[in-house]
Symmetry: C2
Subunit: 247 residues, 2 copies
DNA sequence: TTTCATGGTTGACATGGATCAAGCTAACGC
DNA sequence: GCGTTAGCTTGATCCATGTCAACCATGAAA
């Protein structure tokens, strides 16, 4: 049956493409620093790949934890909800970054992960990752680094929320995005925001109007060009200067 | 020489007391869940114990990382400094908690850890911890849980800084301290603050005057009794209610 | 093409917390 | 016991950001 043979070929092709060893994000992601042989062992572990449509949840707060997720493509936000409806966006994640580390602690997720555009993720069963990282020193160490980096990142956000004023926060936010896009081979100066002003505001501890005004102000000052979600950075140093001096 | 024999006895006694297997914090700390035999292997690893005087640094931002630290007794703060002098306190740590996880990511510390009272810590060489946790599954898993708990805690602080008003922040802070003191067998209703109003303020993203006013207000409302650093919680539910309703 | 809905911008005004300033308390060294 | 100092409290005032409201832009659905 030629039809089913074609189907099989397609499947095996897609399986090859899924593997970490063929993934162009491997230097940003969990496989960083692994040898070819080690990479193949990691491939065995990452069997599930899932598409998440824009607006859908990858997981919800309270759901049982069993895997962490590597973003293969797309864009996510994570948030925590208070009973009274207040939302805090705790982060925005892009390709090559890991989601779900919060779930290890209590064996259930403590935040929501929501796709901000159609995305694709690799599910990594956590028990198997622990088991493999008992065998592969490099993997173990790199995983620890990734968790630690998350802690350091969070401290940066605490700094931002605790001591910076509105425009400093937004400048820091834009510079951080720019730097992460650059690391992924995209333009450092021009990108589309995947999130709304309200989501940016929630992340930065500001109201959406304040975010909007700060964007307008940056545009007036010639630091950036904004058109809705399209951002062009015209003066990186201007933005950086904003953050360093007390105004 | 009887004198030196006494000295030796004292030393070996103190060594025994240092071991995780004899530590009354073991259920709160890294050894959680280990068998007796596993505990002894962990003991071998934790050779260094250090006293840190009030006001001294356990480590500084930028210092090379090689160990994490378990607090045996005392009280610490961690903070991040911006070039322009702004300080963000990123946490307060007490007995049984781990310090230094931030250093794993870049192999150098990213914050300062400062003793708020005379303290004692156990240094845990990180390379050896990784190596041992490759052999002891329970240790590995528990360590991952501790790191993940730190991430979850940080998300809680982000929520606090991003969406709560001054009095909610302080109420959350007091309830958190109370709960952690309770877990260590101290009174949940009465304790001494080890940090100044300014340090509380830095942690909560507020100025010291605002912290002071909020304390006074809580006292007027009958939620707590404050006398400088001495706190008595009189109405836990009052404090909790403060956090749940939008005022 | 028009309509509708969602998200963004801008203005006018309100306010929570910052800032500035004065005085108070408690602990510690002499 | 006394003076000094760091830390705390409280009051008066100010301002950055929140709130409320109107309007605009864009894209999807009809």
């Amino acid at each position: 049956m030629p039809q089913s043979r074609t189907l099989n070929q397609e499947i095996s092709l897609s399986v090859i493409k899924t593997a970490c060893s063929n993934c162009n994000l491997r230097e940003l992601c969990l496989p960083f620093g692994l040898s070819l042989e080690e990479l193949e062992r990691l491939d065995d572990l990452i069997s599930t790949r899932r598409r998440i449509k824009r607006g859908d949840h990858l997981y919800r707060a309270g759901a049982p934890f069993d895997s962490i997720y590597a973003i293969r493509s797309g864009f996510f936000k994570t948030d925590v909800l208070l009973e009274d409806g207040r939302e805090q966006v705790t982060g925005f994640q892009m390709a090559g970054e890991l989601l779900g580390l919060d779930g290890i602690s209590t064996e259930s997720h403590t935040c929501n992960a929501i796709a901000l555009e159609d995305s694709e993720i690799c599910a990594i069963p956590f028990a198997r990752l622990e088991s493999l990282s008992r065998e592969i020193h490099t993997l173990q160490h790199h995983f620890h680094k990734v968790m630690s980096r998350e802690i350091v990142r969070d401290h940066g956000v605490m700094m931002l929320l605790g001591t910076m004023r509105a425009e400093e926060r937004l400048a820091a936010f834009l510079l951080n995005l720019s730097q992460r896009f650059t690391a992924r081979g995209f333009s450092h100066a021009e990108f589309y925001l995947r999130m709304t002003r309200e989501e940016i505001g929630s992340y930065l501890g500001l109201k959406l109007e304040t975010v909007s005004r700060a964007f307008s102000r940056f545009q007036e000052e010639g630091y950036i060009a904004v058109q809705q979600k399209h951002i062009r950075i015209l003066d990186v140093n201007g933005l950086k200067a904003l953050m360093n001096h007390r105004v």
